[in-house]
Symmetry: none
Subunit: 190 residues, 4 copies
Amino acid sequence: MTEQARRKQIVDAAVAVIAAEGYAKASFGRIAKQAGLSSTGLISYHFANKRELMDEVVRTVLADFTEFVLARTDDVAGPAAQLRAFIAANVEFASERRTHLVAMLEVARAEPGDGPDPVLEADLRGLADLLRAGQRLGEFRDFDADVMAMAIRSARDGLLLKLRTEPDLDLDVYTGELVTLFDLATRRTP
Amino acid sequence: MTEQARRKQIVDAAVAVIAAEGYAKASFGRIAKQAGLSSTGLISYHFANKRELMDEVVRTVLADFTEFVLARTDDVAGPAAQLRAFIAANVEFASERRTHLVAMLEVARAEPGDGPDPVLEADLRGLADLLRAGQRLGEFRDFDADVMAMAIRSARDGLLLKLRTEPDLDLDVYTGELVTLFDLATRRTP
Amino acid sequence: MTEQARRKQIVDAAVAVIAAEGYAKASFGRIAKQAGLSSTGLISYHFANKRELMDEVVRTVLADFTEFVLARTDDVAGPAAQLRAFIAANVEFASERRTHLVAMLEVARAEPGDGPDPVLEADLRGLADLLRAGQRLGEFRDFDADVMAMAIRSARDGLLLKLRTEPDLDLDVYTGELVTLFDLATRRTP
Amino acid sequence: MTEQARRKQIVDAAVAVIAAEGYAKASFGRIAKQAGLSSTGLISYHFANKRELMDEVVRTVLADFTEFVLARTDDVAGPAAQLRAFIAANVEFASERRTHLVAMLEVARAEPGDGPDPVLEADLRGLADLLRAGQRLGEFRDFDADVMAMAIRSARDGLLLKLRTEPDLDLDVYTGELVTLFDLATRRTP
DNA sequence: CATGAATGAGATTTCATTCAT
DNA sequence: GATGAATGAAATCTCATTCAT
């Protein structure tokens, strides 16, 4: 088995365990079992230490997530439409790749680095820029873009929480509700 | 020392440790040290096991939180004003008793019970009812009350996250932003 | 069992294991077995980590050794007689408390601290001073005191090595040989 | 690459690692890295097990050392002169090939075989013979040749220790001191 | 010959919990 | 009630060795 494939296998198992049982219980033992490995030594063989594995979990999911969202917002014209697309993309990712998103957020929370949280940055930076652009164009009203960005991101995390107990949630409805909510909250009132 | 006082001392120490270092690192050893106890045996003496201690952490903070919010929303007239008061109360609690709120949410996340999460319930139940009442009275537009409630709660958690890195945040501004946001998002448009 | 007694028991077991099997094989497991403990956790309970245990081994034996030698050299008059007493004391300690001395030297070699080796210092400092005093008094010839001190100490370590394979060595003979050797090597020739 | 060259490369790397970090930390991993090998498997391919590698380390250095000393003592006439040459050769080897000597002694100490230590034998055998020959010729006084041999060998090990912290030691001085020391200690007094 | 993935044992350390005093 | 020593499980990490390619 190739190095790359094995690392991916381990990262996938880690994602599954973290999403299912939480970061605290994601020991090498459980991850190895989930991956069907014969020993935790194999994880240590492929990752220098636990932090390296967890960093790779974050890196992998974050790249995936970023690409996913960008692909769905890139060619959209106008701030309001972009915001709608952004929210829809987030909801879609949260449902389609729920375990990945949950695992990434768990790791980011449990292992805060020294500097700013890269996951949080990735979530907020582009979004706040989008909002500010909309304000400059006069499409959005004059709110605090950072607060609004955090509210939007947090609403997506709320969906993650709901999906835990209600996996059959109607996502189209949820998307529509959030889109309307933040459309009303951001648009310049006549 | 009375039984009750001792339990409170331990719970307070647990809250402090969890908020400062996270649930994962909140071992009996660290909690005992924080409380100035001479032995972790004392914790085991007063609590059947770790889960019991953590349950009491949740119970204590949740009661405190519920009372705090109720006291600030009870005598307010009208759904819109109640919603504003609710948001303001949440922001206030999140800043004044940040460690308590953080600890409670950490425990709830790390040790999910079998049934529905009581913390989540407490956050959402009353809020959703408030929103539905406003809809019945015609003050609020026709949104999904559960989704809106979750968005409001999640926005408060976003504030908690922001407070971790920006403890000197201007709370009045934050409150104002959130109040306006959800006022626009909920009100019946003319 | 009292803290102090338990620590002593563990240190003694560590000394025995190190002397018998070498520092490299002196794992907590073997030490616990030697001491008749039920678990290595007990060692960790009494010593913060392995280095702490080993430091205590060195500290204990070194204090013992220093006291032993001082008691046998203190009230001796004249450099030549003091040197003879010093050598005799070293040989005696090396045979009576062979395991202690071996263990101390093993640890000192395996875990070199940042600064100068305290064991080496203890061995050489007083001895070199003694030699220099003898030179000032005209009893000793004009050699390099540091080189001579090291040679004397090394000769004692040679005895330790010999004792490993020949435990029934005639110590009186050995002492006599070393005393004569260094007497001739140090005395001012007529 | 030829079998022999590969083995030599590995032995050299082992010597370097052992001298620099001690036997305890001389794992196959570190040795492979030092040698620039891509896998520890290569070491296992060329040596049946770790002991075999270490035995070869000892064998290699010992042959080198023996040849070195013999070359410098062979054509010297007279026991006293031979002793001087022996000491000088030991000091020279200890400084010129310090890592080799240190590594050999480390291995011999850490992995004592069942029978007599071949390293010790090699050090002492010829030396004691030399001393006894001098006694028979009447040039040396009547000491215990084994004790004297051990003292001489030990003095050289003392130099090794000193070189660790004082690599710029003046070796000519050191040689002179030791030569004089043992000249006085061995010669027949008038 | 060489590679590098895999294995399983063993190391130190942390921890919740028990229990005699 | 309180203390603190003791226990044994579990965690991460290192290592020599094996083996398919």
